[in-house]
Symmetry: C2
Subunit: 313 residues, 2 copies
């Protein structure tokens, strides 16, 4: 039994392990059953050093240790380290044999790389090469390749936005001052949606929220949207009515549109990442550009609807 | 001299250190000069265990160690850990006395928190309480408080966008079909700017790029912008001319605007974080919403200028 070896033998094993990994940076070593080489427990070097020389390893080893499987995704490994605050974890194969060890300093690099990927995806950048090249080392043509797909997809989305406007074109020309508020309404909708989406995408990544929280999130964003929408509408009423002097009916049109746009943008922005996660895709993939183009179309539809209600267009 | 103590004494010191920190998770212990308690070197536990019992500490300790100052910002500490791949680092005060130790598992939490803060800032969310509360635990009113400031600031920015449109209103009513392409041009400009800004903000955070790289970045984004702008313009020409059948002159207006908007958005999007960093602010603070509202105003100005050039408006 490996758990019966003496301190002198342990010193030898530790020496070999440390030689083997060159840096000597890990603080845990692993005891394996010699027949089958199955991992049966772990002992930290610090425990070992301060324990009595006659103590059996089986008395000081932890058998309820956490381990990593050779087929685990690196993102999964990183989340295990974050959860348990270990400095090193054993890696085992299907037969539970020890095949390696991962130290937390490597995990830090993984966390950094995953974060960069998430941020890029959220900004509509797909890193096709995924070779961790630094920004300045990536050729212009590769930068173009990484950024083009989303921009092209969104251009198609803007065909629909264009169609919404075209269908309302003649009516717009009757109350031409309505055009001036289009960027305000589309922009605010996009920003509100991005705020909600970013919090949920990040929350899902750090496991702060889960897809099962969908209704709680929906309820929260609904109330946030109502409150924010009301405040922004009030400010805009002052602007449209008293600064721009566009009359009460145009002011009502803009402000009612603002209220509904903010509420819907908050709800949609928070729910899209949940739905994407639910169908097992990366929530960061359906990115802020998507949310802002969806909210553009919604913003215009609501705006023109309000124009019909308040201005009879 | 502390460097002359025997292995038995060391065992005692290690025992005390480990007792003191309860978890026993750090793998380095520190030798301090007894008179003055200045930090003179560090020895890793693993080196200690495998060295000859008669070896003097002064022979195996590293004197060229890296340390953390008690007044260092936690973000700075995290970047030191990322740079050197250590599992633990000593903390010293102004007189270079050892006052503590930081282990990398705490740093992982710091990295996660800083990343979340960066992402939130980039989406225009300011976490005033900064109490690391989870999304669902934060009250609605706090969510509103965190998200409102940027939305209000941007509403002011949209007053200028509105003024640009108002000044062009009458001319717009002459060629009403131009309105339909406003969301496309503003949206594409915003997305192009955000793509560039995100890469640079992240690059500055991971120290991949530096403010001194400004001209290299400018030159790269300029070429990326020209290439992307040309491709997107070509696609849009097909749409405006053959799908929407709005004539060659309107097509030229939209496509020329698209080309210049993409180029300028790429350049401005990449330069804003550099400038913000240069004046010692957090690049993530001047966020994507700002870049998209700036690029909205620029997009409209360029669009109307092109309308004057090609359509004589």
């Amino acid at each position: 039994m490996a758990a019966n070896i003496s301190e002198a033998e342990i010193r030898k094993i530790v020496e070999n392990i440390i030689k083997g990994v060159q840096g000597g940076s890990e603080n845990k070593w692993t005891s394996t059953e010699y027949n089958g080489r199955k991992l049966i427990g772990i002992v930290s070097l610090s425990t070992l050093v301060v324990s009595d020389p006659d103590t059996k390893i089986s008395d000081i080893m932890h058998t309820d240790y956490v381990y990593i499987n050779v087929y685990d995704d690196q993102e999964e490994v990183a989340s295990q380290f974050k959860k348990y605050d270990f400095l090193a974890m054993p890696v085992v194969d299907k037969e539970h044999r020890l095949v390696g060890i991962i130290t937390i300093d490597d995990v830090v690099d993984v966390i950094e790389a995953e974060t960069t990927e998430d941020m890029e995806l959220m900004a509509g950048i797909i890193d096709f090469d995924d070779n961790d090249s630094e920004y300045l080392d990536v050729p212009v043509i590769t930068h173009v390749k990484n950024r083009l797909p989303w921009l092209l997809i969104l251009m198609v989305a803007y065909i629909f936005t264009g169609m919404i406007i075209t269908s309302f074109e003649e009516k717009l020309s009757e109350v031409i001052c309505l055009i001036a508020y289009m960027p305000l309404l589309m922009g605010t909708g996009g920003n509100c949606g991005s705020q909600a989406a970013t919090l949920i995408i990040r929350g899902l990544a750090t496991e702060e929220v889960d897809t099962s929280d969908a209704f709680k999130i929906l309820w929260k964003e609904l109330r946030i949207g109502i409150l924010l929408g009301a405040i922004l509408s009030a400010f805009n009423f002052l602007r449209v009515c008293f600064l721009d002097r566009n009359g009460v009916l145009v002011s009502f049109t803009v402000c009612a549109a603002m209220l509904f746009i903010v509420i819907i943008a908050k709800v949609i922005g928070s729910m899209i990442p949940i739905v994407v996660k639910k169908v097992k895709l990366d929530p960061a993939l359906i990115a802020n550009p998507t949310i802002s183009s969806i909210s553009d179309a919604i913003a215009l539809s609501i705006y023109f609807l309000m124009a019909r209600v308040f201005l009879g267009l």
